[in-house]
Symmetry: C2
Subunit: 401 residues, 2 copies
Amino acid sequence: MSENEAPPVVDGFRFAGISCGIKQSGAPDLGLIVADEVVPAAALFTRNTVKAAPVVIAADRIERGRAQAILVNSGNANACTGKEGISLVHSTTEAIAAALGADVDTVIPASTGIIGQRLPAEHIEGAAEELIADLSADGAERFAKAIMTTDRWPKLVHKKVPLGPGIEATIVGIAKGAGMIHPNMATTLAFILTDAPTHSSFLHKALRKGAEDTFNALTVDGETSTNDTIIAMASGKLPISPIGGTDRDAKNFTEAIRAVLEELGQSIVKDGEGAEHVVRLEVHGAPSEDAAKKVAERIASSLLVKTAVHGCDPNWGRIISAAGMAGVAFDPNKVEIRIGDVVVAKNGMAAGGGAEQRAAEAMKEAEYLIRIKLGPGNSKAHYTFCDIGHEYVKINADYHT
Amino acid sequence: MSENEAPPVVDGFRFAGISCGIKQSGAPDLGLIVADEVVPAAALFTRNTVKAAPVVIAADRIERGRAQAILVNSGNANACTGKEGISLVHSTTEAIAAALGADVDTVIPASTGIIGQRLPAEHIEGAAEELIADLSADGAERFAKAIMTTDRWPKLVHKKVPLGPGIEATIVGIAKGAGMIHPNMATTLAFILTDAPTHSSFLHKALRKGAEDTFNALTVDGETSTNDTIIAMASGKLPISPIGGTDRDAKNFTEAIRAVLEELGQSIVKDGEGAEHVVRLEVHGAPSEDAAKKVAERIASSLLVKTAVHGCDPNWGRIISAAGMAGVAFDPNKVEIRIGDVVVAKNGMAAGGGAEQRAAEAMKEAEYLIRIKLGPGNSKAHYTFCDIGHEYVKINADYHT
């Protein structure tokens, strides 16, 4: 979202973002999204065995496919907090539900921040009235700021989807994430709101499909947090029949959800702690899509590749070696590697001449492409990652709990 | 090996280490180990799909279970060098075999250094006579220095194993490795020489068993190189019958091989690029050994854990979160984490009080223990890893190919 753009608005939703005193800095740390009524909802959650208390409760509540509100705090993850953590999610969401006049089971919680510390629930409960008073249709940016942790900027995306003649649905996406938090982990929260009418099962399908090559294909530091959550809600304000099935509208809508997640994901990687370069990595010529994805993930997660990217060093040996660690069979003598427009390796060997020098130039760009062709296969995959440099170490080592 | 110790000697072997001009610095870069005759030999090689030319040829030659010499160069990995790379391994080992009067198929090659560059074979071939003239029974340290890349010190281990009444076998281990090389990859080469008589199949079994919880349970940066090689040779000079089977001698011998690999491995992690702390990580209470190993590997590979170790930050949330990413089921509410002697988390929650402060003190040590108990299971595993800090980034990003 550019600075002069109007704040994203989506019919049927209001947003709030205030400071309630969880963050010692006094920065905004409590956000709320409220639908006019109970609406279809769906969610994806972290695959980490260790799940934060809000994740446990959110997963239980969203199971029914409906929600009216999303309550999010930053500054405290409420993870590894035992039974008390669970009980505090109950009491905070009950306080908000009471103030809203909503059913507590329709209030979906999410938290992000430091783990292993007691959630100061009294701050949230005490701020319930103020939070609700802050709700407004154009408050998405306030909400986005309230869920930030080490983020350098709020992350909002706003898209229109044509659905049949003369009808356009709106999708607003809001996310946080920059590798990890104050300073604990790679925490991503994302919220997708639309005025399109649809069922929760279709919304869930669209989310899963959309996350596959976006949120599930990007890495800052290879960590999966205890709190990762993506929630979608559909207000259904648009006067058309519910989207679903496999017709053109369903396809357009699904693609728009994917596009919103992609844009949010790119913004998260760009904001990766200390990142100076964002690399789109493409793996081509793989024997299967699964193999392509494994190779892409291995390269994008390699500390040697990430530090080479940081140093603008066209060290393709690190790339082919990382590919060889993916547990996928390929013929190294068929591999081709491109950095930007420059072929740096062909038939598994140095392309020679000034190629590396030209590639080093391409690597000075803030964003560029690395493309590896494994062989004659037809499958491909991609991944987006950033470099790891001194700033990353500074944020994550030079900080003390 | 302390400075005043006599150089390790093992009956039946001579060692050499010289400069032949592969390294531009003029530092030693060519090493040779020669047995008095063709003897039983065994090896383990990298699991990377991308295998350097010397690995391909070494694996083929060692297949027969016998060898007379090991020819190693540093400064050039001869990896990703296509057919020419293979052909240059043939010509260099032929030159050495001719000068030694040995069969070329008993000369096992190994290389370490930059990948993707043509091996300057003419330097090796031209130095064949000089290399052989340098051979001596007490030359192990010269050899160890000739195989170094970013290593800060040569790595030699010398052990005696009692085998029956009044008989002691000698095992000498020599390795290189410090995370990676000039500056391409995590390259480890290791050589085990013994005067005990044994068969290659038993030697191979002892190597595999010994590597399992030593070389296969340590990490600097999670990379597996194109060149990783461990070779063992047994001169059989000791006047006893060949060791094998499952009797006490066989067990003692196997354990001694493991101990030599362990000591070499510890020295490699200590020399991990920029490492200031070596952590022994123990995972207890797992449902199976495989589960314990998966959790240990995930924690030891976590960039967030490594940077926390660098910063002496007792951020146990990063440890439990990394454990939760291993794909192993456990109850987070049963987890206990110790740093040094300090319990920092109990029942999956902060142990509270001054625990973190005391743990932060323990983390200032150069070497310490982190112990995570997952639950009531009986299985355990361990891993050795080092921190990742500014020096690592400096070595691997601020260098340009």
